[in-house]
Symmetry: C2
């Protein structure tokens, strides 16, 4: 069938429902450059206002999925489960998590993204390991998954090209914050990994794209629905992103913190989230029930099996695994700047968004796509919400190389911390689980 | 000031209000091709959903107005009033109307449009007079207005270029049916004519862009508001477009019907609308109060003064004024096809939209911009709502040249007329006046 794009825009604008055939036509024509960007952006804005019903959302996601190649992991016998996070500050969980669940018999074909706006990117963090490449061809996935149980790769040109085109257009046309567009973008890429199930970490709070619990729960619900329609069970965990996760925000320093989690020496919050997610993924994989899964994950850490998987992963993807024993091989910054507490009291705010933007200015993230990341700079946060401090105590240590970048970072940190006379409880790390 | 278009799109998307400075920036940058079509179309769709408040609408219209040249009619001492119609089928009112009010001392600098979708265009009708040109340069307006009192011209490249660009984009992106965009498009072009006041005919019904009275009244209200903010009083008359206006639908045949109105021999509905509008325009011009204005208009017809203005207009714009006495000079079709009543009864439907689309297929209008119009083809409607017919009576006579065009026209006329056992009253021609 062939359609008139202007008529289809009109239908969505007027609150109509489009057929699977119509939506597939739009994605195919747009990917083939036969629909103009100016028509697609008007259509995306109409979706932003009028949404998609469940059937449309499934059809749209499916059409995106089939806009390019799809991984074929039929040669991998192990259950295949991936985890995706909607993005946060200091969120390095994927790095210790994937080796833990791989050590427990789950195959993790993880395709990650890069630093975006104020949030970090798993690929950027991994690439701070000298020699580590995330450029893994689709055909190389099955063998590596059979050997090690984990691949940590960047997006390829051939998987879900529609999403790359659409995302660039959405970014320029104010059509990013649409629930069905966000959900279909994530799910099409994850289903293209040929996985059996997905764990989704929807972050909530100042440093997340979802600022409140209600929006996050709606996204979670939408994701679970798409998962159902594409035969890919999705478990969603809503987690706090009002303050950075863990102590380290940057790239090389987040690798060091990830290693410490796998040694059983990580900060409490990152460790807890990692083990909770591992437990959910092992359960989704059907390897254990939810009571015993947590024990398996903890054992993978205490036995050193998970750390061993990480070493093999680094080696397989071109890095030197001795970096685990000798983190001095990682890039480090030349200078340190310490932010100190101006008064005694309790920390009531340690803002993820402020620290995220400051870390971008420092050079740890990108404000434009072409920016080059400095893997050695970043924050070590010493005081988080609920902690008590005395005047002069360090709130954070900033590893820096460039004076103007440091000055720029400091200029946006004026309200990052707040110190009050009364204590505030620590925020709940895990805000809910939706399946 | 310089802004980020993606941020401004976001503001409008989120229901915010944009400043006059921001809106002027958008229009200037878009007209200068420094904002991409894909950003503008997303912005237009956001306007379609979230609207403009009164201040934004005034600022947007004003920015469009100043995107190009503006007529300077300061050398014309007479009051300057124009009339605009939102478009209909068989709507030739401008052609007898302008000469009538010009004969009464009003200057009418009318810039009209062409046939669009199922509606006819004043320019196309006028151009069926051999030699008649509507290509009148802005500098030629004052002298012609001082001499004859009327100019009937096409849009120029230099007046309101923003509207031409925006309209083409809206047409391709489903963003035509937005009240503020429709209103600002009309008003920017009319205010650019340097007029003192405007009479607006908002058509309502199947053959109009506004299908119901409520939408039409909202457009009317919006237009009156913009008029107020741009110091150009606007009177809006809501008129019926459920069936074609008058008997003739086409081009040359509508010129003949227009001449008959100026001879006092026109169909009742076209005559009534023409005189009502003339009376409103004479009142808006301050030449007479509303009680005596109608008399002046009738006198301009009965004295032959209005017909004389039409003759001078035709001559001034390159045509042969003897066409008025000898309409055989106008192009005429080679064949006639008569649609007859299949049964006795009363006409309860004579649908403007069906007949409008049929006339396009016949060659009297355009389905694409590049289509060439055949000025000689068209409909003479013999039976309209409220009329009684006997089986075999003509419902309409079709003047045609091309067999396949005739067949195509006939194929969409199946439901154009409906004949019932009981009579239906004629629809009210004038549905309301809003000032």
């Amino acid at each position: 069938m062939t359609y008139s794009m202007v008529e289809l825009i009109g239908q969505k604008r007027d609150g109509g429902t489009l057929s699977a055939d119509q939506l597939a036509w739009i994605i195919a024509e747009y990917t083939g450059h036969r629909i103009a960007d100016y028509q697609m952006s008007a259509f995306l804005m109409a979706i932003l206002f009028n949404g998609f019903d469940t059937t449309e959302l499934a059809a749209w996601t499916n059409a995106m999925l089939h806009s390019g190649e799809v991984l074929d992991l039929s040669a991998v016998a192990k259950p295949k489960v991936d985890k995706h996070s909607t993005g946060g500050v200091g969120d390095k969980v994927s790095i210790p998590l994937a080796p833990i669940v791989a050590a427990c018999g789950v195959a993790v074909p993880m395709i990650s993204g890069r630093s975006l706006a104020h949030t970090g990117g798993t690929l950027d963090k991994l690439e701070s390991i000298p020699g580590f490449t995330t450029d893994i061809a689709p055909w190389a996935f099955p063998e590596q998954l059979n050997d090690i149980g984990v691949v940590m790769a960047g997006q390829t040109e051939t998987l879900v090209p529609a999403d790359r085109h659409l995302y660039a257009l959405r970014d320029a046309t104010g059509t990013v914050p649409s629930l069905p567009l966000i959900a279909s973008s994530i799910m099409s890429k994850k289903v293209a990994e040929d996985i059996d199930a997905l764990l989704l970490d929807v972050k909530v709070g100042s440093g997340a794209f979802m600022k409140n619990r209600q929006d996050a729960a709606m996204l979670a619900q939408t994701m679970v629905e798409i998962g159902r329609s594409s035969d890919t069970p999705v478990t969603v965990v809503l987690t706090d992103m009002s303050q950075p996760l863990g102590r380290e925000v940057g790239n090389a320093n987040e690798i060091i913190e990830s290693i410490s989690v796998l040694r059983g020496e990580g900060p409490e919050d990152v460790t807890e989230l990692t083990l909770t997610f591992a437990s959910e993924m092992i359960t989704l994989a059907g390897i254990a029930d939810s009571e015993t899964a947590r024990g398996l994950a903890e054992q993978a850490v205490s036995s050193g099996a998970a750390l061993d998987v990480l070493a093999r992963l680094i080696e397989r993807q071109g890095g030197d695994p001795r970096v685990i024993e000798n983190t001095a091989q990682l890039p480090s910054a030349r200078n340190e700047y310490v932010i100190t507490a101006p008064r005694d009291g309790w920390i009531t705010r340690c803002d993820a968004l402020d620290i995220g933007f400051a870390s971008v200015r420092l050079g740890a993230g990108r404000s434009r796509k072409k920016d080059v990341i400095d893997p050695s700079v970043g924050f070590s946060i010493e005081a988080k919400v609920g902690d008590s401090v005395s005047v002069g105590d360090p709130l954070a240590r900033i590893a820096w190389n460039d004076q103007s970048a440091l000055d720029s970072a400091l200029s946006v940190l004026g309200n990052a911390w707040r110190i009050a006379d009364e204590p505030t409880p620590k925020p709940d790390l895990i805000m809910g689980v939706i399946t």
